[in-house]
């Protein structure tokens, strides 16, 4: 590794201090009543053992603080990741057992080892299962939780059997870890994890996660690295859980295998869902409520004379059912939704030209695609030139969308080749092609439900950024710069499609045509050289079609290579340089809009006798 020169060090220091100044400025800008409230709650939480020492069970509070840290970290997987993991307790248990087994080594070393092992386990689970749909992922992780519990029971020599492993309270330096110190550590850990998870959510990784969770197909079309992002989210979440478990075991004084069973994972997920995984603070509230269920259950059990041991779990389940039935997404998000309808705009919202690569020639030769006996495309040749708009039209089932999918790499051709300039794209996945600049929008615009338009577009801007989880968690200058740059690109892309004013509106509130523009902006934010648009005018009114036409013409003027699959022939007529007509998987006609409009074969096969409204007339 080359040594760092003094000038490089100075540059690094300078960059860091500049970044710190910028971070402070951003914090000042974003500081709100909510931030004051959070700070006050944090300070008050730290003071609890001092002010209420004789009235609270500090050890139990500390225990719940560690659980809260694990739940907040799980929120990253469940919230933006959209993965209902039921094995967070496994990582807590791993951390605890590793730390207990390493009782003879300095505590900081054992904590580091426990965190690392849990992170590796999380990465393994993520790599193996994060690609699954939510319901299968839940089942798979639940089985992992059971498997872990059974493995602990089957390894009495390693975990001390049902007696567990006895550990000392531990100390860091000269500080003994009394329950009060554990509590303060737990509160600080929760605070750090809340901030860290918040930072991840704002980072490229967070946006990638959210994009994949909210609109998997849309994110895939933008080239978002689904597997890597999800795996890293699992690893970060597991690392925090492992650290929490490793600390908690020194509070509990024993690594009790029975404490790390599936019920712990269930509790953590319930806390996430009840409090609301959409907010980093939600799981903290969830843990507080789940913690309350124990004493409430005991009280109910005593009142009714029933078995008290199971009441807590039953009440937790009822609470979860109530919150899920409310459809609010958890307590904290529901409160936040009441308190603010819109976000405060980010300070870096300045207009810059959209980051578009120089258009490149995309060429397809002899593309064939069969679905069983049906030939969807029978040898398509296409030449897409920079600075030109090619329209692909044809009746339903003629193979337009199949052609688009073959070009974008989301479908593999049975025969034929695609070239980007001099490069042959055989074997290139959709993500590879997106990285090379071939980006596609979907026939139906992705809903990006719950996301702000700016965030949805930023998913595209962040698609190509490396999802560096640790940097994102600690909001390092590099991670912050990446996020800032992605947001700037997203603003520019929104400008380019003319809907800058929609940046802070939720996608669910936009019209279909506006959502199409958001999708185009997201594609533009990736910095494409070739843009493949699948029916961008679907559902748009005349004014919106005209607006879309202006957008496409501007992009053509910027030198982008454009292919538009479209049914709206007025738009095609207005913007297309070349029109290719498909019929039953083969090219029926090719030429300028005027040429194609005059072709009797096209009229006979596709246009019929004409449309009195002019919508189907070139």
């Amino acid at each position: 590794m080359p040594a760092t020169t003094p000038s490089e060090s100075v540059t690094t220091v300078g960059r860091t201090s500049a970044e710190l100044r910028r971070a402070l400025a951003e914090t000042r800008h974003a500081w709100s009543a909510r931030a004051w409230l959070g700070t006050a709650v944090f300070a008050a939480a730290l003071l609890v053992p001092i002010v209420l020492s004789s009235h609270v069970a500090v050890d139990r509070l500390a225990h719940y603080a560690y659980l809260a840290a694990a739940a907040v970290a799980l929120g990253l997987v469940v919230g933006p990741g959209g993965m209902p993991s039921l094995c967070q307790g496994v990582f807590v248990g791993l951390g605890a057992v590793i730390s207990a087994r390493l009782g003879a080594v300095p505590l900081l070393v054992s904590l580091a080892c426990a965190t690392a092992v849990a992170a590796l386990a999380g990465a393994a689970v993520g790599a193996g299962f994060a690609r699954l749909r939510a319901v299968y992922l839940a089942v798979a992780t639940w089985l992992i939780a059971w498997g872990f519990a059974l493995a602990l029971l089957a390894s009495p020599r390693f975990v001390g059997g049902t007696d567990g492993l006895v550990v000392g309270p531990g100390h860091i330096g000269s500080v003994d870890l009394t329950p009060t110190v554990h509590y303060e550590l737990g509160v600080v850990l929760v605070f750090v994890v809340v901030l860290g998870v918040g930072a991840v959510r704002r980072s490229a990784l967070g946006l990638q996660l959210e994009g994949v969770a909210v609109t998997p197909a849309g994110a895939a079309a933008l080239g978002v690295p689904r597997g890597a992002a999800r795996t890293k989210a699992f690893a970060v979440s597991a690392a925090v859980a492992g650290l929490a478990g490793a600390l908690a075991v020194h509070l509990a004084l024993v690594a009790d295998p029975a404490a790390y069973g599936p019920y712990l994972s269930f509790q953590l997920l319930v806390a996430c869902l009840v409090g609301g995984a959409a907010s980093p603070v939600g799981p903290v509230v969830g843990i507080a409520l789940v913690g309350l269920m124990g004493p409430v259950g005991e009280a109910l059990g005593r009142l009714t004379g029933a078995e008290t041991a199971r009441f807590g779990a039953m009440l937790s389940a009822l609470l979860l059912v109530a919150v899920l039935a409310s459809g609010t997404g958890g307590i904290v998000p529901a409160l936040e939704a009441r308190l603010r309808a819109r976000r405060r705009p980010a300070p870096e919202a300045r207009a810059e030209p959209v980051r578009v690569r120089t258009g490149e020639r995309l060429e397809a030769r002899g593309l064939v695609k069969r679905f069983d006996d049906h030939v969807a495309l029978a040898g398509l040749d296409l030449d897409l030139e920079p600075g030109r708009i090619t329209a692909l039209i044809g009746p339903n089932g003629s193979g337009k969308s199949t052609a688009l999918r073959l070009l974008s790499g989301s479908l593999v051709a049975d025969e034929g080749r695609v070239h980007l300039a001099d490069r042959v794209l055989d074997g290139h996945s959709a993500r590879d092609r997106a990285r090379l600049g071939i980006v596609r929008t979907l026939q139906r615009p992705p809903a990006f439900a719950g996301m702000f338009a700016l965030d949805a577009v930023t998913v595209g801007a962040a698609a190509d950024l490396p999802p560096r989880a640790v940097r994102a968690f600690f909001a390092t200058p590099t991670a912050r710069a990446g996020g800032r740059s992605a947001r700037a690109d997203a603003h520019s892309a929104l400008d380019a499609v003319g809907i800058r004013e929609a940046a802070e509106r939720r996608c669910d509130e936009l019209t279909g045509a506006e959502r199409q523009l958001v999708a185009i902006a997201a594609a533009l934010a990736t910095g494409p050289s070739v843009l493949l648009l699948d029916e961008p005018a679907a559902g748009a009114g005349a004014q919106e079609v005209a607006r879309l036409g202006d957008v496409l013409r501007r992009l053509r003027a910027d030198g982008l290579t454009l292919l538009v699959v479209e049914h709206n022939l007025r738009l095609v007529h207005d913007v297309a340089d070349v029109v290719v007509v498909l019929d039953r998987g083969a090219i029926l006609a090719r030429g300028t809009p005027a040429d194609v409009a005059g072709d009797p074969r096209v009229r006979a096969a596709y246009l019929g006798s004409g449309d009195p409204n002019g919508e189907t007339s070139l």
């Binding site: 004789s54 069970a57 050890d59 719940y64 006895v166 004084l253 309350l292 269920m293």
Partner: protein, 401 residues
Amino acid sequence: MGALVVLVSGCGGSSDEHQTLTVVVNAPFSRTPYVGETIARGAELAAQEVRTAGGIVTDDGTFDLRIVRADNALSPQRAVANVRDAIRDNAVAIVDEGTGVDASWKLARDAQLPLAITYQGGAGLVDPETRPNVFRIAPTDRGISFRLAEYLVPKGLRIALLTDDSGYGREGKAALAKAFGSNPEAVALRAEVPAGSGGVSTAVLRARDAGATALLVWGQARTLAAAITAARSRGWNVPVYAPPSAEDPLLRQQLADHPEWVDGLTFASGRMTAERGPEDWMRFQAAFETSFGADLVGVRTSSGAPVAQPPDYAMYAYDFVRVLAAAIDRANGVDDRDAVLRALDEVTVRGANGDERGFNVHNHEGVVDDDVYFARFEDMTFRPVADDALSSTLPVIDQTR
């Protein structure tokens, strides 16, 4: 929130100028209710008698004892949390089933809180040198296992030693290893099985294949029931021996459909009656049943009589609370907790069965190792065996109501 615990004053709350001292029973009420209930009721009976006798009169005032139940659910983590709660509640002692003591005794020591084990007999749990605040009134695993070896080896049996992975089972495994260490030829197989029913059948079959002519199953009652079921349902009429967990009514409840499978089950346990005769024990049992009713097992004899469990394990908790009361009296109050701890090494009381109960600085075991007898089930009740010198001298305690 759940962690916010409003303190129940452990010392104070006068009624007729009596102050109340809290004694916490840390036991598995939810997981093995018989054990938890038995311990708690023994302690409650003693507290009740202290109250009836006018309390513990000291220069600091008159004290009554209050028993608070804390469920450890057989979880060492919960057991430790319960000890922390007890310290916070300013408890004067913990009557403990034994789970988690390895982790909790230091906390109790730092709070000068005596911790008395009244069920588990593990070897490492009690040590006056290193654990000066830990006491035990219960037969030790060492005593039971050596008595079992002494009883079984001369019979020329080839014994399969099956233990489960509960804390109780693991302690038993260690004790059996020592007890049978000098007679390896008597051991056909050693196997550890998961607590409960899973995996027990396989171990029983392995024992049969290994040529075992007897099973010694040391584990929770569920494990023991599973082992008997596994053997008998395969037509293997092998004699089965067990530690005191065989007394747990759960075993007879689980085998209620096959009472003949219970017949012949032989177990070792602490002697209920003293040399001086059964009168003290009978008085204790009568007082116990007056307060709580007979502890009905839930099964009947072949003649239809309901079977009741003798409160032998309640006796140990009862005795400890009485020793504690005597120690508080000797220390003249509870302000000086160290004095109470010291006094526990000095006082003796006459126990429920007439034996002298007490400790000294060198010995915190309230039951001597030899004080173990053998009983055998017949028709859902048990009686001392005739082929053991000590047991054959003991009276039969009526177990029907």
